[in-house]
């Protein structure tokens, strides 16, 4: 596929790996302890595990898998709200497939559907709106989820619903924002991060200016990165070069997609439809100020939280779960007491085991470089090109609805 295959070239990966080695060898931090770089975005986590990129890095560099997987940070109480909506007799509940297996305190959406609740998978919020258009006597609720990447699509769908006067459509808004979250992580005392790989697809919407405080105030380099193996290796190399030269800047590796200023049309739609919440609850991280959005007053009639009464309870994560520690990089997935035993992708206890972008599911599926099985580095490099393209819903032949 164009713009994909070229960014998996083993020869270039090898060259980058060698350069990263050389920089790590003379980095003073690496002599004392592993240098910690956080990839904020779950999409990066997915690529890192799928291609075994950690095996291409020297031991002195450690990747910390950050909180950027919207499914993984969804608190149980919100899943319970989804289930309550789905079980409402006249509601047709629509959701992205990723969210189906996230455990709530009683059940997941998958279990609710098995018990008779009407839950439909959609590929796009526009598909949910189409269902509302086609079935005017049903109330269609769309489970809106994701960072700034998917916020504009929800906003544009609400604007479309307004333009067409479709009022049996509403949105259960769980959109979250990346900047307050990175700030919360930077302020957390347990953390010793040395740099960041910035989320490429969030950045194509918000641009690179919002990250400036990370470089200026916290003195950490951040490189906005694409999602192919070469993108990630190049971004790691760019962070290492910054550290080597004693710079802390926001740089953009993913220039082919991320414009400096972000996407004006997308931001306009977001600003029109959403406003910041005082706080939002994250699984594993607790409540973070201004880290979520809800629908504006002007769009109240499309807001499922205002239209229906929801349990809206705060539910603590199960005791055995150590998702929070994994999210902050304090422990590795395999170090969680229930990893692979009580918690597996088939029966997830924590949400990091649910999505393919969650660190635990990725480790479970692709194997952890820190544990068995190990692969030879040469083999790891040569394997880059042969892994198949992302199994992306847009290319799947079956209609998700």
């Amino acid at each position: 596929m164009k713009f994909v295959d070229e960014f998996r070239d083993p020869g270039k990966a090898r060259a980058l790996a060698r350069r990263i080695d050389a920089l790590a060898a003379r980095n003073p931090i690496c002599r004392r302890r592993p240098l910690q770089l956080m990839e904020v975005c779950g999409g990066h986590t997915h690529t890192i595990f799928k291609y075994g990129l950690e095996q291409l890095l020297p031991e002195a560099i450690e990747l910390v898998h950050g909180p950027g997987c919207p499914v993984c940070v969804l608190p149980m109480g919100r899943v319970d709200d989804c289930v309550a909506l789905a079980e409402h007799p006249n509601i047709l509940f629509t959701t992205y497939g990723d969210a189906m297996r996230v455990p709530g305190s009683r059940k997941s959406l998958m279990q609710a559907r098995a018990e008779g609740a009407e839950v439909r998978l959609v590929y796009s919020p526009m598909d949910a709106l189409a269902l509302a258009r086609d079935q005017p006597d049903r109330e269609v609720v769309f489970f809106a989820l994701g960072f700034e990447t998917t916020m504009p699509s929800t906003a544009l769908t609400v604007l479309r619903a307004e333009a067409e006067g479709i009022d049996n459509f509403s949105v259960f808004c769980n959109h979250i924002t990346i900047i307050p979250t990175i700030k919360a992580i930077l302020d957390s005392p347990e953390l010793t991060l040395d740099g960041f790989l910035g989320p490429g697809h969030v950045s194509m919407v918000i641009g690179d200016a919002p990250y400036a405080f990370i470089a200026r105030h916290y003195r950490k380099p951040l490189v906005i990165s694409g999602f192919e193996p070469l993108d990630i290796l190049q971004a790691i190399w760019m962070v290492m070069v910054q550290l080597d030269e004693g710079r802390c800047e926001v740089e953009n590796q993913y220039r082919r997609v991320v414009p400096e200023a972000g996407n004006a049309a997308a931001l306009r739609a977001v600003q029109r439809v959403f406003r910041l919440r005082e706080f939002f609850e994250w699984r594993g991280l607790g409540s973070i100020d201004h880290s979520g959005v809800r629908l504006n007053e002007a769009y109240a009639r499309f807001d499922a939280e205002r239209r229906y009464s929801l349990p809206n309870l705060r539910i603590a994560d199960p005791k055995a779960c150590q998702c929070g520690e994994v999210l902050k990089g304090a422990i590795k997935p395999r170090q969680c007491k229930v990893f692979g035993t009580a918690c597996t992708p088939e029966t997830p206890l924590g949400s990091l085991m649910v999505s393919s972008e969650g660190a635990c599911a990725a480790v479970y599926r692709y194997g952890d470089p820190a544990g068995p099985p190990r692969r030879d580095r040469t083999e790891a490099v040569d394997g880059l090109a042969s892994r198949d393209a992302a199994d992306h819903p847009a290319t799947s032949q079956e209609k998700p609805t």
Binding site: L57, T150, T378, A380, A394
Partner: protein, 99 residues
């Protein structure tokens, strides 16, 4: 839902709803292109453009020149690397054989 995928705008279906046909890995889908239409541009001007598609929306235009520039830089790094390469023993996960 966060993974984007490249596609090429094939034709415009409807200006009013910003809908276009986009070919993604050989499959054509109706995609909303509101976020990639130039401020005072016409929808038809987008035909032929490569875009990154997320959940049914084209969220960014893919800049072929920037892609080529990145690849060229990586190629140069590789070449310089071959010239400068020195034997180097470093501890590494998975071990390094025959270097």
């Amino acid at each position: 839902m966060c993974l984007g995928i490249p596609g090429r705008i094939v034709s415009i279906v409807d200006d009013e709803t910003d809908t276009a046909l986009v070919e993604i890995a050989g499959i054509r889908r109706a995609i909303n292109i509101a976020c990639v239409v130039e401020e005072d541009g016409r929808h038809a001007d987008c035909v032929g453009d490569w875009v990154l598609v997320h959940v049914g929306f084209a969220m960014s235009r893919i800049d072929a020149e920037e892609a080529a520039r990145t690849l060229e830089l990586l190629r140069e790094l590789g070449e310089m690397d071959e010239e400068l390469r020195q034997p180097q023993a470093s501890a590494r996960r998975g071990g390094e054989h025959g270097r």
